[in-house]
Symmetry: C2
């Protein structure tokens, strides 16, 4: 169901093949970056670019940067001082594999490298700014999450909007901006990204709901309860579809298909 | 001895005053960023810009980004999994004050915010690229440092060049590039930055030599021994002066003064 997979994997692999990178650090970065994942954020970026008539080659640096920023956040979130997760995508998490100090550095390096790649691109300041802003919002979301374990639904929504939603929104906005979207199109992409991001998190939580319930983890799903959660997901899905209404073509249909799959939690298995 | 202090402090304070930042994260970022420090990297950036006839206002975003990147690296280096330092600049280190998870996030946020500030600047891609490259080299230096505790002088030099030197070099290069330096001037700034960075680290090590000797810490100084260290510092100082030879005016004299102070370790107390 993921489009553009080959372009994305090839571009990420090419990023990690640069001889300038210190071999040991490259190995640690590549272990997490090239270790699987659905590449959903870069796919959204390329789809938005194509949908707006842009050249997806121009969006590829942004797609790669998005995945690097997402990957660095997973490495740091998994650290013992944070979520203390020993596994990620079916293999040892970065700090389990390389030790805590190296995992901190691998995350720092991926974040830095993402910006190095962006800064090698001429122009496109609004798209770069959008992505940096989202990366900062993501840290804010994590900070809010750390600070309050007794979160209510409103705070959990705010955490989700920042921690997960911001990067999804940046994914479609950067793709659209690279394609030269106008203000109206920007607003549509923004609406779509915001709805899609929350929907993604709720679909993800739905997959983990038994596990989360067992450890007493609060999610939007557990806060809302089953009925309200279903209603919220339907509303988010409707919002995402409405935002896509002005667009047609294969890429638009692809974004509609992803939205439908998340809402139904059907054929498409959601992985982070 | 530090010029431009008021401009730098005002600019950094203004960065931290943006209402968009989540208050708790802003407090944690500001605790380390506004908590003292000689602001030597931003001063070098502004001096290089002024020396090349540029407008230092244009270099200020780069100066701020340099200090943020330096500060994030201190926060992460101090973490228990890294150097495990309880104090920084005479007060508790970030993780001692806010806990380890928040310190990781404060560092992540400062690094991200540095790039957000750069990405809000139009153009100047070569300067932005230079700074991202240096930020990556810094992580590589730290990675090398972690990997080999039995480092010889050559490896220690390489570690110092990346971990400390790269950001000093980027400081003068970004200042020069913002001012529109030509290729010859770029090469001079590069030579100056590389020599100055190593000299800075050796002067810093000289201040800590008794403490380092007590804990058996290897530095370029302990590796070289007193006589060779003095000769190396004299050579680095001569190299830095030679690189500055084409330049005149107050800003050039300021850079010469800093170099002389490092070489003599005299009136100017070096702090990181």
């Amino acid at each position: 169901m993921i489009r553009y997979r080959k372009q994305i994997e090839d571009a990420l692999t090419a990023c990690m093949d640069r001889p300038m990178l210190l071999p040991q650090l490259r190995e640690q970065m590549a272990y997490s970056l090239l270790g699987g994942g659905k590449r959903i954020r870069p796919s959204l970026c390329l789809a938005a670019c194509e949908m707006l008539g842009g050249d997806i080659k121009e969006a590829l640096p942004f797609a790669c940067a998005l995945e690097m920023i997402h990957t660095y956040s997973l490495i740091h979130d998994d650290l013992p001082a944070m979520d203390n997760d020993d596994e990620r995508r079916g293999k040892p998490s970065s700090h389990k594999r390389f030790g805590e100090a190296n995992a901190i550095l691998a995350g720092d390096a991926l974040l830095t490298y993402a910006f190095w790649i962006l800064n090698a691109v001429r122009g496109h300041e609004p798209a770069k700014s959008e992505l940096s802003y989202a990366a900062l919002a993501m840290v804010e979301g994590q900070s809010l999450d750390l600070a309050d374990s007794a979160a209510d639904a409103d705070l959990l929504f705010e955490i989700t909007r920042k921690k997960t939603g911001a990067l999804f929104t940046a994914a479609v906005l950067t793709g659209g901006l690279v394609a030269g979207c106008d203000d109206d199109q920007y607003q549509c992409l923004n609406r779509f990204g915001e709805a899609f991001g929350i929907l993604f998190q709720m679909a993800d939580d739905r997959q983990d709901r038994e596990q989360d319930a067992a450890i007493g983890k609060k999610t939007l799903l557990t806060c809302y309860g089953k009925e309200r959660a279903q209603a919220e997901m339907a509303a988010l899905s409707a919002e995402a579809f409405a935002a896509l209404a002005p667009f047609s073509g294969q890429a638009a249909d692809y974004l509609r298909g992803l939205t439908a799959a998340l809402a139904e939690n059907g054929k498409w298995k959601v992985e982070s």
